[in-house]
Homo-oligomer: 225 residues x 2
């Protein structure tokens, strides 16, 4: 029996928790409509087509099931134990993707697709070994040396320092001192102040900053073609 190829993708975006206020990492999940694990939430994914690359398959399957078009895609890990599937050998390549808040809005309206916190007590049970995949995605995110890159992919090209700090807090899972955070980032050369301010707020308008990229992450999937 020849092996079958599939991809699964952890899609992460920031959302403000409607109950508790703080910004958190959320992910869209799809409800399984057949056995095994029927009715449980699972990561978006599907089989790899014969003429597409693994990264293309990840981008295509997540777009088909969720409607999303993430700005960042990175390969995570490959699962291929011989007994993962009772019939033939199933090799699954896991990816993880990052979304800006603007991109989050494009989620399809479908009762079988819903957003959930990526970790913590409100994060649901997942089908297969998908919880392990999500935890590994979070582990890699937290262990990245260049957080500026990550924050940029979650925020878009213009952002305030408060937004940037909330992303860091959501990823690291702990709160940071706003004043010290500001000082540290001003010392790095990874962000640059613009002459624009975020209007419409109720208080002093914060300045907008821009990310100065140092080239792509060596892990990023090239999807320019």
């Amino acid at each position: 029996m020849p092996p079958a190829l599939a991809v699964s993708t952890v899609i992460l975006g920031i959302r403000t928790d409607p109950e508790h206020g703080g910004t958190r990492l959320w992910m869209p999940l799809v409800k399984r409509i057949r056995q095994p694990y029927r009715g449980q939430w699972a990561l978006p994914g599907g089989p790899v087509g014969a003429r597409e690359s693994l990264g293309e398959a990840a981008g295509r399957t997540l777009a088909e099931t969720t409607g999303l078009r993430p700005s960042y895609l990175e390969q995570l890990y490959t699962f291929g134990d011989p007994d993962r599937s009772p019939t033939q050998r199933l090799v699954t390549i896991a990816y993880f993707a990052l979304l800006t808040e603007a991109q989050v809005g494009a989620t399809v309206s479908d009762p079988n697709v819903a957003w959930y916190p990526a970790y913590g007590e409100h994060s649901p049970q997942l089908a297969f070994d998908h919880r392990k995949i999500v935890d590994y995605a979070l582990w890699r995110l937290r262990n990245k040396t260049e957080y500026g890159q990550v924050a940029h992919r979650l925020l878009g090209d213009r952002f305030t320092l408060a937004q940037l700090r909330e992303v860091y807090e959501a990823v690291l899972g702990r709160s940071l001192d706003p004043a010290n955070f500001r000082r540290q980032l001003k010392n790095t050369s990874s962000i640059e102040a613009t002459d624009e301010f975020l209007a419409g707020g109720k208080h002093r308008p914060p300045r907008l900053y821009r990310y100065i990229g140092h080239g792509p992450d060596p892990l990023e999937v090239d999807r320019t073609s």
Copy 2:
């Protein structure tokens, strides 16, 4: 045409450079005896058996070609572009392994297996996209948060602070101040002084230290079975 599964492994160990003195990262390579890239050096690897896991396949193929039994194995990246092979689709899962100096000695005596520096001008050209795989292995090694773990896998369970510093220098590619290095490591709880000393040297005998593990790296392949 169904996909074929294969593994390739970057095996890294420390060796003292016979010419220039310093400790460097070296890797064993195997010479290709058939087309394509016949005569060029390549990473050890081979097809995945029907009843073995991907990690088992990596451990088996590297042992068969090099005779080595590394103390550490970690999955790196999966390559699966549809046009990698002219005949059928070839999916290669790359691994990287770490060896202690004791384990390096067990290399098979075979003219088609030889050790080379893992990076720098004396590192040879490699077949296929294997240079990219090696560079990615080095990138991940350098971006690990827990260097103590890495050093432990390259040195064994007892080591002097000078040896530990040489490992850090070989991985990071720059020299470190011995006194400051000592101070930093004494503040972490990752190593512990033993009451033993390394005898036989020409100078003051250095104290031996032991690594205090914080559990395995989440990426490590479990090969206890």
